[in-house]
Structures are given as structure tokens and as C-alpha cells.
Symmetry: C2
Subunit: 584 residues, 2 copies
């Protein structure tokens, strides 16, 4: 077999699938849309009356294998535009005709033919169907508007995974399976963390356990802030459009904002905290001695997203960020960025994210501010990154028009990268709000603003982190840290309740499961809830002042004294703050 | 002097003031509006070109005293409506003419005359000007629209305090002085706790110190909730009008809500959390074993208030409450209310509120639900209040149409009562949301809902509490608990910073004041900031490992060892939780 590249294999496999579909439904005029290569495979959009089922996908796969065995040669044909139009018209392929019509006049049009099947395509392709490895799997069918236009007809999009060999395919299918198990929407429901309601699209309702995790994350960031000199502020959510004019959001972000009229004026629900912090800085007189000034804000934000774009917790219409704005002198940037990188890495590693990528985005073509300022800022960022000792990639020209930025991605347990942190220099907002401080020489200077978030949206972080840990939160973050189970209520409940009170008073989150259910049932339920520990109390435990402890996921329980239990819990609870920031 | 009642004295004094004004500006056609008795005195609305100044108020007071000395008899005259109209028209008193025109035809119209001054008035009055005690003080002038209508002209409203004798007046003026000093708007600015901006009317911006107090209050309630079995939830803020239709807010509360259109549907920013909690309860299946279920929510609320009605933190357009909804069986109400009363009293007393009034409001004429249910609910509330051992007043018929309620008022350091807590039974929302749980017999039952808030709006509570403590927060709540001052930076700064680190690591909120300013200046500044403690470090303190400590408001400092200091701080910090709820 010649060494075709993966994209070619995937693309040819898409044609293969289309051919199989055409063969299996000869009496339907199946219309073919587009069939591009995507990450991990390909899809093809088809229009047909029959609604494809899981069974159909299996039949299509079988037919594809059959065509491979037929060793059909794949041949390229070139046509003039008019010829191509009339050819596909004859074939009844109206979607293809529409595509060809959208091409420039005089453009060379190529088609590929294998057996009876011919498709419009730029290529390249493998030489014959038997060049294709049987390393594909048809995954599912989803609806997709023709040309992405919701006013056009809905086609059936058939997704397939496709690799160079069976081993890679198998690995990928395992990954998909694991990702499905860890899907945060599924876990959110199972663990009673959050859910959605029709009356509030893309706006999660956090049930007690979810709210506990949420608040623990906020508290975690507050403890970190305390060590890095951040001051939390609380700012309004509904603000006059005048403010959004000043900040520039009105011109650049209006479609994503919610508006309301109050006393005949237009107000908007805030999509970002920054303008509020600019007002606060402007309200007082500051000198260089007060800088850097760091305002942190967990204020709730609202950003409109199209109904089709929202998904679980990872893309919502309302969320809070661990947002902060740092007001700083130009000369202070490098030291501050170094501090930020330290803080980011300490926290990400605390959450168990092992692979961390740092990207530096530099000045774009259309930019505000002069080159000298950009030079200074970019070089400060580079020097800070180098001094931090972390590798980083440069994304040339990818900065915002108002300043260069650093973004940080982490990879989760399934090796998927997620951007969490962002550090954004801003020369524009201080101008727009005419911010000033008194410098060392007693003159007025303009501060630079750094926008930064470490976890980013807390909602999204919870989604990402839930999938990373598969729903099994570490002790310090678990909504329920331990469940105490008396072997039978008659003999052991009192002792269980005494232990409960002791642990509760030590500020642990524990519960007694005193339901009249079997031990087996309770054990399964507690394992399902992914509580870090199950503590069983029977006769022996009462006698020895001990508990039978079983960690989440462990096959067996072990016996330890209650004093040892408390020591262990205290040790685990140290993780409330990252090791690097702990007091001696 | 005959014994006239206070209202008569105040009313006659209002006429006295009007006469004095008329005398002092003989060349202006001063128009008199209304001059009613109010709490602590009276006011009179006048229309004149001259804008009254503080100096004028003194001159008017002097003239009033002069008229008293003139011993003018005060005589009642009765007129027919037509006669009165023509009389006041002749006097050029157009506002009085308008008032008379609004009276019913045939109504008897009385006027009172003293010397050259005659005023439309129902009376009664004292017999002669010399019957009036010289126990009044003109306080200030404020603008007021004629007949409260913003489309009519603006009059000058002259406010006066007025009592039976000079002693009472003096006491009241002292109270006003004290209240001014404690005005939370003034303190909020001075202590850099919060401020307002034009772009967000009635929506406070909490600066770092204010946000610290705010978050400490939330954390305080969380600690209390932990002991009383509350579960915090986090709910969306922007919800479809469908929901507000279901809850009834759309029919009864619409004018106070902000609306926004999203994807061609109408949404409202939530003014209350209850509908979200109803949805949450309905989302899961609960049994009697799960009840009472207590959802707490610090969600941000938005309620439109007219621009004229808002004031400081006490009446804002956006706030958070220590809000909770309890889902409970009818039979559980009494026990739960007892628990609530315990919790309320423990917390209020912890904040130093000594006088606590409890009111029970019973069924109104227009009510939902049958009498049997109301009987049961009211008697449960009464029995709970009696079992709690607190006195309470009954407000007959003052309950909401959907259930009886208890409200709790506290008196502050100036003996002003403020309603903080409210406990509201609700039979309606469970109906509207068709809430159900499985009762002991395995059948479906409808739960009762209790709406409750202890601090109420956190914003308003901060306003009330700031005035109660005059800005001097107790140690556990103070945004800055201690300021460390080295006598001179050259010798003592290092030691001061070491002490700072120790206290910071023990989680206290401290700061080093290392500015190059005199000790006297720093002392004044720290006293002004009302930080509980100032800790001075000089040679002696460095030698002895001690600090010179001065409490807020104390005239002198005393010397204690740093270990004693830490013990004292730890003792004070126990107030993070009320004594009654502390662990042994």
C-alpha cells in the first residue's frame, strides 16, 4: 500500500461512505452536500427521506468494506464549469450544482470517480479503494443546515472516526467512550451538582452540592489572592449605556449584551467587570506608592450566545470569573507578570494539571498605541516569561488591538487542551477613562491595566475540572467529604452520630446514612456519589473507637482509629491552600 | 399657659413661621402651600423668588420669637367656599385658592388669623401666640414639588423641629447631630467602604474595605447556616417571563422589574429568588424524610425604585439578601419557627442589638386558602412564639394574602427601630408550581414554603449597622483589624514587618503604615479609619518582644507582649461565630 497521508485517507473514506450510502438506498435520490476531513475523521452531509439509524450505520460500514474489496480504481476527471453543471444536473445532484455555481467562472473543476460513483472534489485521493485501511467507525448522525444557513433545508450529517490503522482507531474509540463517561453534563446530573431549566437557557441552576464546589473555588481563589495582594470589590451589574460607550463595548460587543430601559434611559447588564473597575480607580487619587493596585471581582456576568452555540457549563450565558484588573506603572509590568506566572502555575499544578502551555500573542496589524510602547510591553512580557523559566510559543500578530497578551492552556486527564488563564495588557481603557496617578516625580502619569483571570469562568472551570477528575473531587473540594454508615441503626446509629458531630465540628462536610437499606445498596450509592470516603461503624469499630474506612474507588476497607482518621483528614485538608503558599 | 397638646403646638408654630416669613419679605408675594405637623416638628412649603439661606432661617426664628412676645390672639373664622376663594384670591394666595377649589362644595372652610396673618386651616390652634413655647429650631430647606407632582413648580420646604420644652428640643437636636455623624452615606465615604456613580443610580460600588465587610457578613451567615441545616444554591438571574407569570410576579410586581428581550422572547432580571427555588424543588423527587429542605441563596436581586425613593444603602435598586426558602410539612411549621426565632435572636444579639420587637401579622380580608389552613398556620406561629419565650404584638389582618408572617425589628444605638428579619408562610407558591412530596403514608402531599431573611438586604443591613456602631466595626468584622506603626522606619520597620507577617499568617487583616509621616498624623489617620487597634513598635517594644497597643477610641496605649497580643486577637476572633453556636 502506498504511503498516503492521513488527510487523504480520511477524504477518500468520506467518498467511500457516500458511495456506500448511494448503493444502499438506490431508490432514493440521495443528495450529497459536502464531506470534509475533520479532527479524528470526517463527515458527509446527505439529504434523503429515510432517517438514518444506528443499524443503518452498521450496514453502511459493511458496504464500505465491500467496496474496498472491489479494488475500484479512483480516477480524476477535469471539467469546464458549464460541463460540470450539466453533468451533476443529470445526476440529480442539486446541491453539487449549487456549489459549482458558486465557483468563479473559468475555475477548473475536478471530480473523482470510483466505480459507478462520481463526486465533485479537489482531491487528492488514494489510487484505488483497496488502498484504504479498514480503520474507520461511523459514530453518529446529527442535523446540519445546508451551508450552515438556518433558512435552508436540514441535512443528515454522518460523522465517522478514521485513522491510519486499527490500533489508532481503537485508542480513539476508547477515548470517546471515556469522554462520554466523564461528560460533565452527565456527571452534573448524576452527582446532583447542577441542571438547566427551560426558562433560563444556558444558565445553570447549582444545587447544594454544585454550589458547595462553586463556593469552595471562590474561597480558594480568595486565599490565593490574600497571598498576592489582591483586593476584592463588589460592583453593580446594570449600568447606563453611557458607560459602555466610554469603554467601547457599545461599539464592539453590543450583540452579546442584554439591554433594559429604566427611567427612559438605556442600561445594559454587564458582560465584563472592567469598566466598573476603571470608574473605581478614577474615583480616588492614587500615587505610585499605591500601585500595583489589584481589584478582584467575582461579579456575575451575562453574555448572549446563540442558542446553537451554548453547551453544558462550558459555554453558558451567565457566569462569574475569577476576574481581576491590575493598575500598574509601565516599569512594573515585568515583575507583575512574573508574579502572575508563579501564581498561575502554583494553582494549575494544585488542581493536578500536568501539561501547561503558555502562548504570547504580539501586536496585530491594526493596533492602538505607538510602536515604542508595544516594544516595551512585549519585551517586558518576554523577559518575564523567560525569567519564569517556562517554555512559551509566540503567536505573532495575535494580540488584541489594545495590547499584547499571554494565554495559558492546560491538558486534562484525556489529554485535551483547554485555555483557562489569560493575562492581557491594555493601553486603551486607561486612555478612554482618562486614568491618572501621581508618579515618583510628582507628575501625572497614565497607568497600564492588566486584565487577568486564572480559572476563567467558574462555570466553565467546573465543567473542565469535573471531566478531568471524572467527578471524583479531591477531599478539600468534595461537596460531601465522607459518609458515615452504621451497620445497623439499632446498635450503631448513636455512635455514628457522635462521630458525625465531631467531624462536623471540625468543619468537615459529612453525613450519616441511616436509611433502612442494605449495606450493599448504600455502598453502591456512596461509590456512585464519588464521596472521597465511606466510614462504616459496626460492633468492632465501637469497641475500638475506630472506623472502617474505604476510599472512593478502593476495593477494600481498612480499619483505623478515629484519632488517626482525624489526623488524616487534617492532612488532606491542607490542600485548601497550595503547598507553595502554605504557612510553615 | 393652658395645656395644649404637642400637635397643636407644632401646628400653631408652623403658622407662626409662615407669619414671620411674610413679615420678613414684605415685597415678595410669598405663596404659602401646606404646613403640616410631622414627626418631631413641622414644615411649611413656600413659593418665593428669594432662595432661603441658613442666615434667613435664623432671622425667621428671631421674628417668630418677636411675634410670640406680641401675644397676638389667634382667632378662628368660618367662610363659605366662594367667600374663601375670593378672600384668598385678594390676598394673592393662588396655592390656597387651588386647595379650596379641591374641597367638596358646601364644605365649611375655616381660617385662623393672628395679627395681620390669616391662613386656611382646620385647626385647632393655641389661643394666642404667647401660648407657644420657644422650643423650636428651623433645621433646613429642601425642594418639594407643589402637591408632590413633578410636573408642578418646585417650592421651598422649611423644616423645623418643635417640642413642648427646651429640654426635649435639646435632646432631639443632639440626636440629629449624632445621626448626622453616623449617617452611613457619610461614613461610607470617609471609611472608603462604598460610593455611587452616575451610570448606576442606587447601585453601590463596594471598595475593598466595603467588600470585605460584605463578604464577612455572607461568611457569617454561612457559618450559622451550617449549624441550622441550610444548603446554599446558586440560581440564574435572567429568566423567561413565563416563570414570572407562573409565580405571579408578572401580575403583581411588574413595575419593579427590569425586562430584556432575548431571541424574541421576554426575560426579566430577577427581583426575588423564590421562583428559582420552586423550580429546583420541582426538579427532584422528595419524600417527608428530606423535609424540611432549606435552600439559601445570596443571589443578586434587582428591583426598580423611583429615583426619588432611593437613599444611600437603605433603599437601593440592587442588593443581595440572606434569603432562604424552607420546604416543610404543615406539621413541621411550629418546630421550624421556634428554630428560626432562636437563630434570629442569637444573631441579632451577636450584632449588639438589644431591643428586639416581634410582630405577628394574621390573615387579611382578601386571602388565598381556606380558614382551616389559616387557623392551623396562625396557631402554629403563635405557639412557636410563645414557646420561644419572646413577647410579640399581633397585627390583625396585616398578613400577605398568601400566608401569615412574622417580622422582627431591632433598635439601633440611637433607639431607631429597623425591620430586619421576616418569616413568611406561603401556601400559594407551592400551588402555583404544583410542588409535591411523598408523605409518610406514601401519598403525594403539597409542602408549605417559608420565605425567610434574617439580615434582609445585605446592603441595607450594612447601612443600618454602620450607623449602629458609628463606623467602628467589631474586631471580627472590621475590614482592617490592626495597623502596625514603626516609630521610625530606619530602626523599627523590619520588626514591624515581621509582626505583620506573623499576624497575616494567623489570618488577621493587618497593615504596616510605613509612610514618612509624623506619629501624630498617623495616629489621627488610624483613629479616623476606626481600625480596632493601632500597634506601635519602638525601641522598647523591640527589646521586650511587645507592642504598644491602642484600641479605637482609647485615650492611651498600653504595652503587651506579642504573645499576649495574639491571645487577645484569638479571643476576639471567636466572635466569628455567635457564642451560643460555638464548639466547646
Amino acid at each position: 500500500m502506498a504511503a498516503f497521508d492521513l488527510d487523504t485517507i480520511r477524504h477518500s473514506s468520506a467518498h467511500l461512505m457516500a458511495q456506500a450510502i448511494a448503493r444502499l438506498w438506490p431508490n432514493e435520490q440521495v443528495q450529497f452536500g459536502v464531506g470534509p476531513v475533520i479532527e479524528n475523521g470526517f463527515y458527509y452531509d446527505v439529504e434523503m427521506d429515510h432517517k438514518l439509524t444506528e443499524e443503518d450505520l452498521k450496514a453502511i460500514e459493511a458496504e464500505m468494506k465491500k467496496i474496498i474489496k472491489e479494488k475500484l480504481p479512483i480516477e480524476r476527471r477535469v471539467m469546464e464549469k458549464e460541463e460540470a453543471i450539466s453533468f451533476f444536473k443529470d445526476q440529480g445532484q442539486e446541491l453539487k450544482v449549487e456549489l459549482i455555481n458558486s465557483f468563479d467562472a473559468g475555475e477548473e473543476i475536478s471530480c473523482y470517480q470510483q466505480g459507478e460513483f462520481i463526486d465533485l472534489c479537489r482531491g487528492p485521493h488514494v489510487d484505488k479503494t483497496s488502498d484504504l485501511p479498514i480503520a474507520f467507525k461511523l459514530l453518529n448522525v446529527a442535523g446540519a443546515y445546508w451551508r450552515g444557513d438556518e433558512k435552508r433545508q436540514m441535512l443528515q450529517r454522518v460523522y465517522a472516526a478514521c485513522f491510519k490503522d486499527k490500533k489508532q482507531l481503537k485508542e480513539h474509540l476508547h477515548f470517546i467512550e471515556e469522554a462520554k463517561k466523564r461528560d460533565h453534563r452527565k456527571l452534573g446530573k448524576e452527582l446532583e451538582l447542577f441542571h438547566f431549566e427551560r426558562v433560563a437557557p444556558a444558565s445553570p441552576f447549582f444545587m447544594p452540592k454544585g454550589a458547595m464546589v462553586y463556593n469552595q473555588l471562590v474561597d480558594f481563589m480568595r486565599r490565593v489572592y490574600r497571598e498576592y495582594g489582591y483586593d476584592e470589590v463588589i460592583t453593580p451589574q446594570v449600568l447606563d449605556s453611557d458607560l459602555w460607550q466610554t469603554s467601547g463595548h457599545y461599539d464592539h460587543y453590543k450583540e452579546n449584551m442584554y439591554f433594559s430601559n429604566i427611567d427612559d434611559r438605556e442600561y445594559a447588564v454587564k458582560p465584563m467587570n472592567c469598566p466598573c473597575h476603571m470608574l473605581m480607580f478614577a474615583h480616588y487619587k492614587y500615587s505610585y506608592r499605591d500601585l500595583p493596585l489589584r481589584y478582584a471581582d467575582f461579579g456575575r456576568l451575562h453574555r448572549y450566545e446563540k442558542a446553537g452555540a451554548v453547551a453544558g457549563l462550558t459555554r453558558v450565558r451567565t457566569f462569574c470569573q475569577d476576574d481581576a484588573h491590575i493598575f500598574i506603572e509601565m516599569d512594573g509590568i515585568q515583575a507583575e507578570i512574573q508574579k502572575l506566572m508563579e501564581m498561575f502555575f502554583i494553582c494549575y499544578e494544585h488542581f493536578g494539571f500536568k501539561n501547561i502551555k503558555v502562548n504570547l500573542s504580539t501586536r496585530p496589524e491594526k493596533k492602538a498605541g505607538d510602536d515604542a510602547t508595544w516594544d516595551k510591553a512585549e519585551s517586558a512580557l518576554k523577559q518575564a516569561l523567560e525569567a519564569s523559566g517556562h517554555e512559551y510559543s509566540i503567536k505573532e500578530g495575535d494580540g488584541a488591538f489594545y495590547g499584547p497578551k499571554i494565554d495559558v492552556e492546560i491538558s486534562d486527564a484525556l489529554n485535551r487542551y483547554h485555555q483557562l488563564g489569560t493575562i492581557q495588557l491594555d493601553f486603551q481603557l486607561p486612555e478612554r477613562f482618562n486614568l491618572k496617578y501621581t508618579n515618583k516625580d510628582g507628575h501625572e502619569s497614565r497607568p497600564v491595566v492588566i486584565h487577568r483571570a486564572l480559572l476563567g469562568s467558574l462555570e466553565r472551570f467546573i465543567g473542565v475540572y469535573l471531566e478531568h477528575v471524572g467527578g471524583a473531587f479531591p477531599f478539600w473540594l468534595a461537596p460531601e467529604q465522607a459518609v458515615i454508615v452504621p451497620v445497623n441503626n439499632a446498635n450503631h446509629l448513636e455512635y455514628a452520630q457522635k462521630l458525625y458531630k465531631e467531624l462536623h465540628d471540625l468543619s468537615y462536610r459529612v453525613r450519616v446514612d441511616d436509611r433502612n437499606e442494605s449495606m450493599g445498596y448504600k455502598t453502591r450509592q456512596i461509590q456512585k456519589s464519588k464521596a472521597p470516603f465511606m466510614l462504616v461503624i459496626g460492633d468492632k469499630e465501637m469497641e475500638n473507637d475506630s472506623v472502617s474506612i474505604r476510599s472512593y474507588g478502593a476495593k477494600f476497607a481498612t480499619s483505623i482509629s478515629t484519632s488517626e482518621l482525624k489526623e488524616n483528614f487534617a492532612e488532606l485538608n491542607k490542600d485548601l491552600i497550595p503547598e507553595a503558599l502554605r504557612k510553615s
